[in-house]
């Protein structure tokens, strides 16, 4: 069950593998390809029952229609308004908490660390009603700010885990040496630790961006109208209006999926580094 490296096998096997790869990929991405194709189908094809044959034309205008007839650009803008502050806020908070937990030995360190870790696993539903009331109480219900504040707090748990492990793997001599030189603690953070954390910061920014962009639950709980809803919630309500208009649903889906997909392909290395943290030890 653990194949030899392909380079060591026969030519025939190698050729077979090269053929199997694209076939497997097409099967794997079947639903996605179907949707991509549907998004380019003219509405008339769907009306006449041509769901899977050759499209009668490449209806790229479906994408224009999505923007023209809906608030899609508003939804996308809202998504950015939630996602970008969340990424920044989370990184600020978690580099600090990670620094505190990764560098200093003090009573309660492990306890606090695991509080962050455990909080990260908690089911959203147990937070739902109080967080909704809290947000409403602050006058931030149905605002992107209210949504972003919650995301910052919650993602700080996950990022603290990441940052703390990253920082405790840094060479301690560096910090000790600085202390001997009499460098203040905040300067150690700012001038020594922070520059070394660039890869962790990069990895987390892509990850958090994707997580928050794709969030649907909190968007449903904390926002209600098109002027504040991010694209996931927007797509869900558009789906309610676009009955029997699968070409638009498909085009809308692809538009909504684009930013994280681009982010992933541009920052693949960091993304996977973040996601697979701890998969090797």
């Amino acid at each position: 069950m653990f194949p030899r490296p392909i380079a060591q096998t026969t030519v025939a096997k190698r050729a077979l593998y090269q053929i199997a790869l694209p076939i497997a990929l097409v099967i794997w991405l079947f639903p996605l390809l179907g949707v991509a194709l549907t998004s380019l189908r003219p509405a008339s094809d769907l009306a006449s029952g041509n769901y899977f044959g050759m499209p009668s034309a490449i209806a790229w205008w479906n994408y224009l229609d999505v923007f023209r007839n809906t608030d899609m650009e508003r939804y996308i803008f809202n998504s950015f308004k939630v996602t970008i502050p969340t990424v920044i806020g989370t990184l600020v908070l978690s580099t600090m908490t990670g620094f505190a937990l990764g560098i200093y030995k003090f009573k309660g360190n492990i306890l606090i660390f695991f509080m962050f870790v455990a909080g990260n696993f908690v089911p959203f539903q147990i937070l739902m009603v109080p967080v909704r009331d809290l947000t409403a109480g602050m006058g931030l219900y149905n605002t992107t700010t209210g949504l972003a504040l919650f995301h910052i707090a919650f993602q700080t748990g996950f990022c603290t885990l990441f940052m703390r492990n990253f920082i405790s793997a840094l060479p301690r001599e560096l910090i000790e040496a600085a202390r001997v030189e009499g460098v203040a603690e905040w300067q150690i953070f700012w001038y020594i630790v922070l520059p070394l954390m660039r890869p962790a910061i990069a990895a987390l920014s892509v990850l958090i961006f994707t997580f928050i962009w794709n969030d649907f639950f909190w968007a449903t709980v904390l926002t209600t109208s098109a002027s504040t809803q991010p694209v996931t919630a927007g797509l869900s309500s558009l789906n309610g209006q676009w009955i029997a208009a699968w070409h638009l649903v498909s085009a809308g889906s692809i538009i909504a999926a684009m930013p994280p997909v681009l982010m992933f392909f541009l920052m693949q290395k960091h993304f996977i580094a973040g996601l697979t943290l701890g998969a090797v030890k």
Binding site: M1, V122, A279
Partner: protein, 307 residues
């Protein structure tokens, strides 16, 4: 240390200088902890409290004691949700071996393999809302691709999401798609670090097939397996988005899971029994706690081992 040299001279040993090593971690922790306490820790307790009340979000809270919990046990919808959660947990675990299988399949060095790996990982990057819409279209009665395929083979299509016995599985399959991709990427990273000399040595000793996988490869992949199991369990219990997008819990409540039922009771169109919803959330939390404490115990053990 160039950086240190550039920094200002040591100041007089003020009170701050003497205590800064003790105080600094707390100052650094304060903002993060405050936010986390406000938005995560306190709400857990608030929900526990609320689960003993009757509250509709408009009027007054009325103390009920354990009534909400008592009602849960006689509520058929709750029992269905709980049962479905178990199905989710069991079925979702398939993502771990499936992810491993694809990872082994892709763990080769040929031209373009990097692109294949990222395309196989692709489903994980897409929002579950989009995944749900894709599969809803795939399953749609009368014109969905799957429906048509089955119709072509058997002469009669199957509308997966209309059948109370199939709908949950239909949703789980949609959920497995990105989850398998996630497990795959964990294993691919793990496989990068499998020592080739050990594999070679085992091969010389005649290890083959499943034995090779079980005795030589898997032990080296243990950290990846641990994370894969953790994220899969959490993913299974968080299954809200897909249910909400694909069926809204229907047909007649047969695809409800606790996370969705809680939302339905507490915030949806016909709901607004927030106390009852909170009681459902507490049960879900208790289930999650069983797993969380297991994971945390293991992590603490590892932590001690390292230090």
């Amino acid at each position: 240390m160039a950086v240190a040299a550039a920094l200002p001279e040591k100041r007089s040993r003020s009170w701050w200088a003497q205590n800064q090593q003790t105080l600094t971690p707390w100052l650094f922790l304060a903002p993060g902890m405050a936010m986390f306490a406000l938005y995560v820790i306190w709400p857990i307790f608030a929900s526990f409290r609320l689960s003993f009340y009757d509250y509709d979000g408009l009027g007054k809270e009325v103390w009920l004691g354990l009534d909400n919990y008592r009602e849960l046990w006689s509520d058929p919808a709750f029992v269905t949700s709980l049962k479905n959660n178990v199905i989710w947990l069991v079925m979702y675990m398939l993502a771990v071996p499936a992810g491993l299988g694809i990872a082994i399949f892709l763990n080769q060095t040929v031209r373009g393999i990097r692109i294949y790996k990222s395309l196989f990982f692709f489903p994980f990057v897409i929002s579950q809302v989009v995944v749900g819409l894709m599969f809803a279209w795939f399953y749609a009665p009368n014109f969905g691709l799957l429906y048509k395929l089955i119709e072509m083979v058997t002469g009669k299509g199957i509308a997966v999401l209309a059948d109370p016995n199939l709908a949950t599985y239909g949703i789980i399959v949609a959920g497995l798609w990105p989850q398998i991709a996630y497990c795959m990427i964990l294993y691919l990273t793990g496989l990068n670090n499998v020592a080739p000399d050990q594999v070679e040595a085992a091969r010389l000793d005649g290890a083959k097939g499943l034995r090779m996988l079980w005795y030589v490869i898997l032990p080296q992949l243990r950290p990846a397996t641990f994370i894969a199991v953790v994220v899969t369990v959490i993913g299974a219990l968080r299954s809200f988005d897909l249910v909400s997008i694909m069926t809204n819990g229907g047909p007649f409540g047969s695809t409800r899971v606790l996370s969705y039922y809680m939302y339905e009771k507490a915030l949806s169109e016909y709901g607004f029994r927030m106390g009852y919803g909170a009681a459902i959330a507490v049960v879900l939390f208790a289930i999650m706690m069983i797993f969380i404490s297991g994971f945390i115990t293991k992590m603490i053990r590892d932590e001690r081992g390292v230090r």
